[in-house]
Amino acid sequence: MKTRKFKYGIAAAMIILSLAACQKVINLDLGNQSGQLVIEGNLTDQHGPQYVVLSRNAPFTSENVYPPVTGAIVSIKDNSGNTFPLTEGPAGTYSVPNLQGIAGDTYSLSVTTGGKTYIAQSVMPKAVALDSISAHNDLFDAGKGEKRITVHFQDPPHIANQYRFVEYVNHKQVKSVFAFDDEFIDGKYVSLDLEQNDINIYARDTVSVELQCIDKPVYTYWYTLMQQQQDNPGGQVAPSNPPTNITPATLGYFSAHTVQTLTLVVK
């Protein structure tokens, strides 16, 4: 988080440089590494259907259309050895109705497709309450009425917590990853800015923030993606596929997490 604060400074430096800088969209020959299995499994603490989505990745140059993987055998197993099979529908989306994750329990995902079985485990953490969200004038362009969103919550002391936030502006998801751990904030009442350059926020916009409490491997997955974001002005790290909790390794993750959403109409 300190690094993110630091990026304000770099942003200021970039403003000066932008006097001479320019950007353009270019064509690159990026080859074609498509057809890899992508597993996205989520299990929440909310009562209801839980989803696992199977797809294949696509070449960079084609449309954002990802072929669904159909006909797979998908199941989730809980702490007590109960197995819940997931059924497909629509194509590539597998779900189980009426399953609710319990804090502290370990869940295992099993996906069998193309003659291979993929296994992943995730621990549902204890929920941490999102106290409130608020809007403040943005650091830059405040004159134009731009706002930034701050989240407020009490971090429980002496235990490691990891958080992921998902931000929506007028029901549209902000294309930015927000993943934090409590290394610098353990036990504190925390106010954190969700800094993003994707959607400008103004008065009368409806902003929703979902807080997910995630386990350590899932945090590492999202944190790696966050470090590789293209709007990471602190300098990018050499990108790579984030470390997955799925074995054998493939693209994607399996996350057992808590969910809480707060909504705010910006004044």
Binding site: Y8, L17, L28, L30, L139, A142
Partner: protein, 774 residues
């Protein structure tokens, strides 16, 4: 092993010490107008064509001959040569003052006589730049820049536009030892790397060793950049300075006691932040962004045999956003040196050196205030001796004791802040070394330079030290008391160079050297950030080791007016460091758990053609090279191109002096793009378009090329003062050199993705500077 090497070494030296009685002529060579000592000036005995030596870092020389009548010739680039008759019957002293050959312009067009030092010297892989040349080469915004100019030499590659980092023969940017008056400069950049910390007004001499490292240097794998500050004029007071587009600078120098001591103070400050006042955004208007630096030096010569030098550097970058955020970072160094001449053969220099790099980041946000600090402080005691044995042997030996004190990171905050106070344990250690080397001329055409350096690291308590397994889990944890040795490493570093002169204009050279590195920069960011973190070797991090062999052919023609060379090198690298995915390096007590280790190799050929003299001078350098890394977890453990791998690298520099008032210069660069990792596919997780990657550094950035031009107009000669104008045009044909390429969802075509290329200096950038001196 150590014993065997040492005894072989001693036998070799003893064997060679015979022959007729020789006498020494020794002394100091100075600039006649300012009293500055000249480093690397040449001394030759006309009657003994193959004799010759150069002055050391303090302008001191000694040369030997049997009893007789001789004519000594003293030369230095940019100065009128001096001939002096000597009747040699005993050891004698001879101090010489050389007059600048073109005091007005300081341009290298001079009447000085071309020499063939580059052919005769056994040292290879060395680059020397004169300040006159550095001042002529056009640069961004008119800020003369030593590091940028160095990157125009073969084998030296700029880390990129807007980055003063440089790569030498495939080494990473942190594998260069940058010394300012013997003090390590940890972060040699200002303003995120756009400018270097070296104010060229204050610099006297720049030498870069990229291979065949002399034994007196060590501690880094790939190069030593040895920068010496000006001593100051000991004849008269002068003030000079310049007003530029983004910065101004001033230098004052003069005698403390005429001909005995002098001082120099040089300062520079940018005013980039003044541009912020024009911004329409109130936060930007209320922000600060500037840097300044200060160089100071004084010396006093007690007598012919004793002299003291005190020098210091202080630089700071300041960057702040109104009521939100502030940061500053900078280096400070201090050096006290004492020269003592025991006799005409034994010269000693004792140095006490201090060096510090620190950064402070402050957040003023309510509920999220904090201050984060980090620093590294070195104290180094160094003793260097050189002993001329007369019979074609010059011995150099010495030792140093270097203490590191590293505060990796501290965070302090108010009670209402979201942040906790965090204190990462300080780390202490000693990096000690001893060396001996001998330059031996067994015949007129053959010269050997060989030596041995023993380097060591002692990582000391107090503190808790963890050992990690490959997955980053703690396997062992132990608490150590203050001063207790946690881990120690001792490495032997043999150094060897040989040169054989085929004739006066041709020589071949060969060298081998081993270097080790015990202090490592951790940074997994591709850009230059001030949050540099240094760690010492430990039970997890092994000393980095490089072995380099190189060979080259050196040729001069047209009476040494042209120099050309071809050098080939091959380097093996061990214990190289990379980072795990998602590594968190800042303020992390367990930072060593975030690292992975591998090896590397680098090889290439460097071609260099230089015209040193005449109205038109300049050089052409070309490097064909490959640098590869190997890490078990990356690309299936196969060799892959390192980020700094550039297949082709070409630089052309031309300087033309039209008349006494106008001179023109230009430089052109071309290089293959960096090896980078681009996505090969995409998928969707968490509602976001996410890119998939198939191999590390499997792609190339587009190649870079750029032409810059400059002109200098000297003011009309005037008794009291002198002024000049420097004009520059950066990126003459407005080429869009890529700075970074990023990938995102298309802003124009829905449901597709696009690659976005950012160029930072995509336009012509003019500059003008007014310089004065009185």
């Amino acid at each position: 092993m150590t014993k065997a090497l040492l005894s072989a070494f001693l036998i070799l030296i003893t064997l060679c010490c015979f022959g007729q009685k020789r006498y020494a002529i020794s002394g100091t060579i100075k600039d006649g107008s300012t009293g500055e000592q000249l480093i690397g000036a040449t001394i030759r005995i006309k009657e003994l064509p193959q004799s010759g030596t150069i002055t050391n870092s303090y302008g001191f020389y000694s040369i030997y001959a049997p009893e007789g009548e001789y004519t000594l010739l003293f030369t230095y680039t940019g100065y009128k040569p001096v001939e002096q008759h000597v009747s040699l019957h005993e050891d004698q002293k001879l101090n010489i003052a050389l007059a600048p050959s073109n005091a007005l312009a300081g341009v290298v067009v001079s009447a000085d006589r071309p020499n063939n030092d580059n052919i005769a010297s056994p040292q290879m892989g060395v680059e020397k730049l004169s300040m006159a040349q550095i001042n002529q080469v056009p640069v961004l915004l008119g800020e003369k820049d030593i590091l940028k100019t160095l990157s125009l030499l073969p084998g030296v590659k700029s880390a990129g536009e807007g980055n003063t980092g440089f790569y030498v023969r495939g080494g990473a940017a942190d594998q260069n030892l940058i010394l300012l008056d013997e003090a390590t400069v940890y972060n040699a950049s200002h303003f995120f790397g756009f400018f270097s910390t070296f104010n060229s007004d204050a610099v006297k001499d720049v030498t870069l060793y990229k291979g065949g490292m002399p034994a007196e240097f060590g501690g880094r794998l790939s190069s030593v950049l040895d920068i010496k500050m000006n001593e100051g004029n000991n004849k008269e007071y002068t003030v000079e300075g310049g007003l530029g587009l983004i910065s101004s600078r001033i230098k004052v120098e003069g005698p403390i006691v005429k001909d005995k001591g002098s001082f120099m103070v040089s300062a520079r400050r940018t005013y980039i932040d003044q541009f912020l006042r024009f911004s329409s955004d109130s936060t930007v208007r209320g922000s600060s962004i500037y840097f300044y630096d200060l160089n100071a030096k004084a010396n006093y010569h007690f007598d012919d045999k004793n002299a003291i030098y005190i020098s210091g550097y202080f630089g700071k970058d300041v960057l702040g956003l109104k009521n939100t955020f502030g940061t500053n970072w900078g280096n400070s160094t201090g050096t006290v040196r004492f020269n003592h001449l025991f006799n005409s053969r034994l010269f000693s220099n004792t140095s006490l050196v201090f060096s510090n790099y620190n950064y402070v980041i402050t957040s003023y946000l309510s509920n999220a205030d904090f201050q984060a600090t980090s620093q590294i402080t070195d104290v180094n005691l160094k003793e260097d001796l050189s002993y001329s044995m007369g019979n074609n042997h010059t011995l150099k030996f010495g030792f140093n004791v270097l203490h590191h004190d590293i505060s990796p990171g501290d965070i302090s905050s108010s009670a209402s802040s979201s942040f906790n106070d965090i204190h990462v344990q300080k780390r202490y250690g000693f990096e000690n070394a001893a060396y001996i080397s001998d330059e031996w001329k067994p015949s007129n055409s053959l010269t050997f330079l060989y030596g041995l350096r023993v380097s060591s690291l002692f990582l000391l308590g107090p503190g808790t030290f963890n050992t990690y397994d490959a997955a980053g889990n703690v396997t062992d944890s132990a608490a150590y008391k203050s001063g207790q040795i946690v881990k120690s490493y001792i490495n032997l570093e043999p150094r060897f160079s040989a040169s054989y002169m085929l004739d006066d204009e041709n020589s071949i050279k060969l060298s081998y050297n081993r270097n080790t590195q015990n202090i490592h920069l951790l940074s997994n960011s591709t850009s230059n950030t001030p949050t540099d973190l240094y760690v010492m070797s430990s039970s997890n991090i092994k000393p980095e080791i490089a072995d380099q062999v190189s060979t080259g052919w050196f040729k001069n023609f047209k009476d040494n007016v042209y120099e050309c060379s071809a050098e080939i090198y091959y380097k093996w690298l061990q214990n190289q460091i990379d980072y795990k995915n998602g590594a968190q390096l800042l303020v992390n007590q367990d930072v060593e758990s975030q690292l992975v280790y591998g090896s590397g190799r680098a090889y290439g050929i460097e071609l260099f053609l230089k015209k040193k003299y005449g109205r038109f001078n300049g050089w052409l350098g070309y490097t064909l090279s490959r640098t590869e890394d190997k890490f078990a977890a990356i690309n299936n453990g196969k060799y892959f191109p390192a980020t700094q791998d550039r297949t082709h690298d070409l630089s052309i520099v031309g300087i033309y002096k039209l008349n006494d008032r106008w001179s023109f210069s230009s430089d052109f660069v071309y290089s293959t793009g960096n090896a980078v990792t681009f996505p090969t596919g995409k998928y969707n997780v968490g509602g976001l378009t996410t890119f998939s990657y198939s191999e590390r550094n499997g792609f190339r950035m587009p190649s870079t090329n750029r032409l810059d031009i400059g002109a200098t107009l000297e003011g009309k000669p005037h008794k009291k003062y002198h002024s000049s104008w420097t004009f520059g045009l950066y990126n003459v044909y407005a080429h869009r050199n890529p700075y970074i390429i990023t990938f995102r969802d298309s802003k124009t075509i829905p449901n597709t993705t696009e690659a976005l290329e950012t160029s930072i200096f995509a336009t012509r950038i003019p500059s003008v500077t007014w310089n004065f001196k009185f």
